[in-house]
Subunit: 168 residues, 4 copies
Amino acid sequence: MSQTIVIEQLRSRGVEVDSIVDLVYQLQAPYHPGLTREECRESVMHVLAKREVMHAVVTGIAIDRLAEQGLLPQPLQTIMDRDEPLYGVDEILALAVTNVYGSIGLTNFGYLDKTKPGIIGELNRQPVHIHVFLDDLVAAIVAAASARFAHQHEARSYIESAPGVRDA
Amino acid sequence: MSQTIVIEQLRSRGVEVDSIVDLVYQLQAPYHPGLTREECRESVMHVLAKREVMHAVVTGIAIDRLAEQGLLPQPLQTIMDRDEPLYGVDEILALAVTNVYGSIGLTNFGYLDKTKPGIIGELNRQPVHIHVFLDDLVAAIVAAASARFAHQHEARSYIESAPGVRDA
Amino acid sequence: MSQTIVIEQLRSRGVEVDSIVDLVYQLQAPYHPGLTREECRESVMHVLAKREVMHAVVTGIAIDRLAEQGLLPQPLQTIMDRDEPLYGVDEILALAVTNVYGSIGLTNFGYLDKTKPGIIGELNRQPVHIHVFLDDLVAAIVAAASARFAHQHEARSYIESAPGVRDA
Amino acid sequence: MSQTIVIEQLRSRGVEVDSIVDLVYQLQAPYHPGLTREECRESVMHVLAKREVMHAVVTGIAIDRLAEQGLLPQPLQTIMDRDEPLYGVDEILALAVTNVYGSIGLTNFGYLDKTKPGIIGELNRQPVHIHVFLDDLVAAIVAAASARFAHQHEARSYIESAPGVRDA
């Protein structure tokens, strides 16, 4: 299974799938009484199986890792060392992850990236490692999993019941 | 001045530039002691002068307005009537606005769209008019103005001072 | 099936699924000896079943249609009447369609939008109807179907065979 | 001047500003009789001065360079070695560059990335170096410079002359 790579990469940087599932659950529970963690996990696993997600995650983590080792060419090493707030490439990669289940994930991504709950905040406060990309990527995975969840569960029958669809 | 069109369009739908300036000020004040509303207004006016912003705003407002009048072809009329949560085209237009000052605006857009402060919440709670696009567009304008502000004020001299830039 | 709506909408504006399949076939045949039109059609049908695609298509076609009827509020009506080259919202909607199978569709979208083969050129040269959105949407559907095709057929076993993946 | 960094980075990988100007000229000349190379160069220099462009270019070139040296963590090293066609992160970074002058650059980006004229093709055919990101970045810079050019030169007075703008 291709998620294996993403899961191993995330774990090697201190992020367990469980921490991601926690955030999806927190975000979705208010809207879905009776929601189980198992349903959230299923959505997360689907996101982690997407090729775009794997590619963004392995790229972002590679840059974080090389920055920690001081191996990046300049001026990228300096940008990463300072966690330059105007860098923006971390948000760009995160957007590619968020988009795997459509644009409705954008809102949750921004909210998570601003409020930094759970593991996202831990990555951010953490003094030794460089996580310029990783915290955004985790927020994006949570946002995408929530978007997928919304597509599965809130998909009401508006299509079939729309009046006048035939003569549109 | 081309902002005139955008300003008139927003006003015709109940959004004053002042309400947008309020949100930029709220969002940026914690990070910038001594920030004035005038500086925030300047950023907002720059955003409103961008052609992408004008095009997104006039398009979104046109669809909102036609939806209110019941003039949209099906199935779009039904989608708008229900404020279908999975529609997503509103977020897509908003993203185009947010991006005029780069990807760093994404986070603030999502945060505003989720927490709906000030005029964004008023548009949303408002029972008569249809504002499927407008609330997202306003959040995006605020996010873009904040991004521009960050580009202007936080742009530290990391470029000039980066060690080894020459041999990069 | 939800594609039905998209197929009907496209047909009502002069675009048959067959014309879309033709373009996918033309684009992919050089890379895949033995490719059948049936395989191309399958990819197109998958793209047309995506909710993002449906929403973008019904929105774009609604604006085209209302422009033709002169029913859009100003200044959007004028922008559409002139097929204003700097409008850009048509490309934004098209990008949302192209992205349903990831960023690799971007290249083909741009190529099709520039060279305008087959039905895309016909829509463009056509004197009576307004197709500001439709030609871009068709190019985007072809690009997305080609991207899906690439994901299905070119997906080599690079994941399983990558050396050192385990210790990454 | 901040373009200096981008110009040096591009040159260190075999791309002169002149080669980029050539492509902008080729792309725009058919539409603008009397166009000079100097006007094209001015647009290119504006694009290269944008912070998003600098960040995307230094990031993409860093990954190309580390791939050549075999220093990337797995599985990214393998993906880069194979120039994996489904990678997609190169297109994502390129999109961020293309977008600095709005979505109208998308079409030219795709066209250039598919037809690979001039320096783009040279980078691609070149047997020793790894240019997974660089060829896309150059195409994106050309597309953005062309978009800026269109904004400057084709901006007709549609705004001022639009009938009914006031009562929109």
